[in-house]
């Protein structure tokens, strides 16, 4: 059961910004409802109005834009899974989208809603960190871009101001030849841990020239692990196969793990080590042209 509210249906981002400016914290953005309707039903959030941004034309657009993949805030997980632009430029994203929650949530839930809700146990923010994701926020005073790492501040907390709309997230596609992988683990409805990895290699060379490593769900917010990334750089695939454990140990050291229903901080830190190593090996194998079919219980590898 929902308590009464007024439903705004702006037809442009400008109109939506107008409503938000007027209503302030008494309004909540509504981009799919899979999260916001739940907390409204629970009474955890009480607002006077909902601002439905789903009807804003173009806000669900997924397209190549200036070398980036731009994903409109109201694109659903299902759209992400299927969009040709995603398959062309960030295919791993399509694969991960296929495993978000369940088919009903994927049908209705949106990328923007997911990011703006900032549930720490979610896949997209972690994954997008590995694509140097940047969110575009729009308000009456214009637009601003914010790296995802700065946007997500903590559990259910973002840098979005009450008068701002998350309009899109822009991902930097990995260069050709990059091997990427994503793993999530956990027995609960939402993941206990998610790790995204990318290994970039120079043209023709075997050595890793650059790397991305992002870990999420284990702490208050997803994080990149720069020291672990740096450690991989310069390694050959053989080095990686031999020394992945070192990187994993760095990741486990640096990750900000907190205990909750999903497990203790200690366990999550250890799982970070386990899965960073595993996923590095998967990515390394992919870089070498193999596709290892690793199966672990309660684990999804994309």
């Amino acid at each position: 059961m929902l308590r009464p509210f007024a439903l705004y249906r702006p037809s442009t981002v400008g109109e939506a910004a107008e409503v938000l400016a007027r209503e302030g914290p008494d309004a909540a953005l509504y981009a799919g409802g899979t999260e916001v309707l739940l907390i409204l039903k629970e009474g955890l959030l009480r607002v006077r109005s909902l601002v439905d941004v789903k009807r804003i034309p173009g806000l669900d657009e997924i397209r190549r834009d200036d070398g980036h993949l731009s994903i409109g805030a109201t694109a659903t997980h299902r759209a992400l899974e299927r969009a040709p632009a995603v398959h062309a430029h960030c295919p791993l994203v399509a694969g991960v989208a296929r495993h978000v929650a369940n088919i009903r949530v994927r049908t209705i839930g949106t990328v923007g809603g997911n990011l703006a809700f900032a549930d720490p146990h979610s896949d997209l923010a972690t994954l997008f960190l590995a694509f140097d994701g940047v969110v575009r926020l729009a308000s009456r005073s214009g637009e601003r871009d914010l790296p995802l790492a700065e946007f997500v501040r903590g559990p259910y907390e973002t840098a979005r101001r009450d008068d701002e709309i998350l309009a899109a997230v822009r991902l930097a596609p990995w260069p050709a030849g990059t091997a990427g992988a994503y793993v999530k683990f956990g027995v609960h409805e939402r993941p206990t841990l998610g790790v995204a990895v990318a290994l970039m290699r120079g043209a023709g060379g075997d050595a890793v020239t650059d790397a991305r490593l992002a870990v999420g769900c284990v702490g208050p917010r997803p994080q990149r692990l720069p020291e672990a990334e740096a450690r991989v750089c310069g390694w050959s695939l053989a080095d990686l196969a031999r020394h992945a454990g070192e990187v994993a140990a760095l990741a486990a050291r640096d990750v900000d793990a907190v205990g909750d229903l999903h497990g203790s901080a200690e366990y999550k830190r250890e799982m970070t080590r386990v899965f960073v190593r595993r996923i590095l090996l998967v990515a390394g194998a992919r870089a070498a042209g193999r596709d290892p079919h690793e199966h672990y219980p309660h684990t999804i590898i994309v």
Binding site: P4, H188, G263, S264, Y267, V274, P297
Partner: protein, 761 residues
């Protein structure tokens, strides 16, 4: 009557009689019913595990437009406000204290749910928090705060007239049983093992949460439509509370969206009835899933077991001391602790036994009945330790069990029903199905576990079969259809005996004003007890038909036979409608058959001899992700001795479901409290098995020797499959890793910790 020919309907996997309505969405459950003018209720629940109520201010809520009734404990002066099947320790609404997070304090009925919620927003409650006891350790500590200070009144469950509370403590009932030389028997043991195992708080999560709709009529009679597994127990409770004769109360039960024991005994019905009385109109009280988590759960337990073996592996003595955490109100838990502890010796021959268990109050959701009724908690401990014993004795776990199994016809306990199945056959079948004697692949190991469970006794089931003028039949029984397929099975039994097509039989839904008495739909008892009553009632009708035909044909009834809706004798064949015409002298009138199954009290330790023994054995093969601690159940084999499957496909469905539910508490499920508050009263935080958790190889095997006490040699199934799951998986884990876990569920983190502790040691 000539000897019965081959069975026509019984023993066949006929379509469920309710399948069509269920696949088309026409099936009606409690939440689908609507009455004109019906109000909708919501409850205000305590946010604290234990607190004194200093003030409850409801004036604003009462004045809110659209509100029909606002109840607090202070308003319930016109009825007996306490209820509970074992102990009447539960108030309709909290009186001076609240005893768990979720204890109802205020109830509102309003024109719709939204208005009821608005009204509750206007209620102000002043609590003074009190120290709470959240665990067995806290509740049993000397000087622990008492969940219940006064002496509660005895409930309506006659068997528990001798409740043994320990005054001044949180123990509301103790169970004791001994035979042979008791603990003295350990003197004969060459090997004695002792250990303690714990079982978590888990919730049924029947997909349909509890619900009730109550309406009072102009003559002061009460009708309650309830999502309940035992309408007659609810009726008894309401009769006492509202001072009504049983005949003035009608409990009608639609289809249930699952029960699993969680809908036994009165839950929301008393509050719905009280609200309806005050509101002066029908009231629906529909729980949410979150409410269900705050309504009932399985009794968690700490079980200390001592096993004594002779050198040759024979069990010589068993001691079991169990503390069951029954939460804030006793519900049926005193009976749970008895039943669970009673079969602590498993299906084994044990000369010396001493059993003791306590039902312990804590400030948590009340514990009650849940599939297995106390047995899974005990079996987890005992069957884990049987494997430890096998290892210590250098024996194969299957062989050690086989050596100790009771034989067919052997006494389990003095005065109780002798063993009614061939346990060795079940054990052989489970070993075969899990391929016990083949080596597992690398990284895998197997475990087995066996169990035996008594059904409820003494116990009564009655049935009426009406053969109508057109030769169709109505079966009147109060078995609740909650998914287990009971209505289909009853129809099959009646169709078989009456020799009419299944489609000509209608099983009438339970309604205490129409359908005859049945004690409860639980304890895997319906096929055996109600089934026999239906068989007898149908046979009663057949007897009448034979008599009518014999008189008409001038031949002895013994020369006649029943065949395809007719009585045949020699060349003559009289169809049922024709016979009824002859009998009544007109087209009209019906034959009424009656069946009563009531074995009564006996000298058995629990007051009645079990109608049958539910025997179930399980074998699991697992693999383990040693780095994460995550277990994968690769294969599972479940063997149930059902005597005879009335409907093999439905037996299989029951058994598969039981195993999956068992995998839930074995690997995943646990209610988590923090600071007195239940953290995961929802399906995001409480993880039940999904389709992906089904073992890749999953066999459900039935032992059918037609030796059950039920109709056609059948006996009960439904609970058993769940019970061996935890110890079978735990034993497999021990055989794989050498690690013996004593605490459920076997979550990845718990297993990982154990692996690490061993590495560090």
């Amino acid at each position: 009557m000539s000897a019965p020919g081959p069975l026509r309907v019984v023993g066949r996997s006929v379509r469920r009689t309710d399948a069509l309505e269920k696949v088309t969405g026409r099936a009606r459950y409690l939440s689908d019913l609507e009455l004109p003018g019906m109000a909708h209720a919501r409850l205000l629940r305590s946010p604290y595990p234990r607190a004194r109520l200093l003030g409850v201010e409801v004036a604003r809520a009462r004045a809110h437009p659209g509100v029909h009734a606002v109840l607090t404990a202070a308003d319930l002066t016109w009825c007996e406000p306490f209820y509970g099947p074992a102990l009447r320790d539960r108030p309709l609404l909290a009186t001076d204290v609240v005893r768990y997070e979720g204890d109802p304090v205020v109830a509102v009925a309003a024109v719709d749910e939204a208005t009821a919620v608005e009204a509750l927003d206007l209620v102000e409650v002043d609590y003074e928090e009190l120290p709470a006891v959240m665990t067995l350790e806290e509740a049993l500590a000397p000087g622990a705060p008492l969940v219940h200070a006064g002496e509660p009144l005895a409930g309506h469950f006659s068997d528990l007239s001798t409740l043994r509370a320990r005054p001044g403590t949180n123990i509301c009932h103790q169970f004791d049983y001994a035979r042979g030389r008791g603990a003295g028997g350990f003197a004969e043991a060459a090997l004695t093992l002792e250990d303690t195992y714990t079982f978590p708080r888990v919730q049924h999560y029947s997909m349909e949460p509890h619900g009730a709709i109550a309406a009072w009529d102009a003559e002061g009679g009460l009708t309650v439509w309830a999502s309940t597994q035992n309408p007659f127990s609810v009726r008894a409770e309401l009769a006492k509370m509202f001072g009504l004769p049983a005949s003035r109360i009608r409990i009608a039960v639609p289809l249930l969206g699952g029960g699993f024991g969680g809908k036994t005994y009165a839950k929301l019905e008393p509050l719905a009835a009280a609200l309806a009385r005050v509101a002066g109109r029908p009231v629906r009280l529909q729980a949410s899933v979150e409410d269900a988590f705050r309504t009932v759960r399985r009794c968690s337990a700490r079980v200390r077991v001592r096993l004594g073996f002779r050198r040759d592996g024979g069990l010589v003595a068993v001691q079991c001391d169990a503390d069951f955490d029954v939460g804030a109100y006793a519900d049926i838990a005193p009976r749970v602790i008895q039943k669970g502890t009673y079969t602590a010796t498993g299906p084994y021959r044990v000369p010396n036994v001493v059993l003791h268990s306590n039902a312990v109050y804590t400030n948590t959701t009340p514990g009650g009945a849940f599939r297995g009724f106390g047995v899974p908690q005990i079996a987890w401990a005992v069957e884990s330790m049987m494997d430890v014993a096998a290892e210590r004795l250098g024996r194969d776990p299957v062989d050690l069990r086989r050596q100790n199994l009771l034989a067919h016809g052997e006494e389990f306990a003095r005065g109780d029903t002798p063993v009614d199945g061939k346990l060795e056959e079940s054990l052989s079948r489970v070993a075969e199905a899990i391929r016990w004697h083949q080596a597992s692949a690398a990284g895998r190991a197997k475990g087995v576990a066996v169990m035996m469970k008594a059904s409820v006794a003494p116990s009564v089931s009655e049935a009426i079969v009406r053969l109508h003028a057109d030769g169709s039949a109505s079966v009147l029984v109060s078995t609740v259809e909650m998914g287990q397929g009971a209505r289909t099975v009853m129809a099959q039994i009646a169709a078989e005996v009456l020799a009419i097509p299944l489609a000509r039989v209608t099983v009438v839904p339970p309604d205490t004003s129409i359908t005859p008495y049945d004690q409860t739909t639980s304890s895997s008892r319906s096929t055996t007890m109600v089934g026999r009553a239906v068989q007898d009632a149908a046979a009663d009708v057949v007897g009448q038909l034979l008599k009518i035909a014999a008189a008409h044909l001038g031949v002895p009834a013994g020369a006649l036979a029943v065949d395809d809706a007719a009585i045949v004798g020699g060349q003559r064949r009289l169809g049922y409608p024709e016979l009824l015409d002859l009998h009544f002298g007109m087209r009209g009138g019906e034959l009424i058959g009656r069946g009563v199954v009531a074995p009564g009290r006996t000298q058995a330790p629990l007051g009645g001899s079990t109608p049958f023994w539910e025997v179930a054995m399980g074998g699991a093969e697992i693999s383990l992700d040693e780095e994460t601690g995550a277990i994968c159940v690769e294969a599972y084999a479940s063997v149930a001795d059902v005597g005879r499957c009335i409907n093999p496909q439905q037996c299989e469905a029951q058994d598969e479901g039981a195993v999956m539910q068992g995998l839930g508490h074995t690997l995943l499920e646990e209610m988590v409290y923090e600071g007195g508050v239940l953290l995961n009263a929802n399906l995001v935080g409480y993880r039940v098995p999904r389709a992906e958790d089904v073992p890749a190889r999953f066999d459900s095997v039935f032992v059918e020797n037609a030796d059950g006490a039920g109709p056609f040699g059948a006996k009960g199934v439904g609970e058993g499959g769940l019970v061996p799951v935890s110890p079978a998986v735990g034993n497999a884990l021990a055989r794989l890793t050498g690690i013996r876990l004593r605490e459920l569920p076997l979550t990845p983190e718990r297993v990982w910790r154990a692996l690490r502790a061993r590495r560090d040691a």
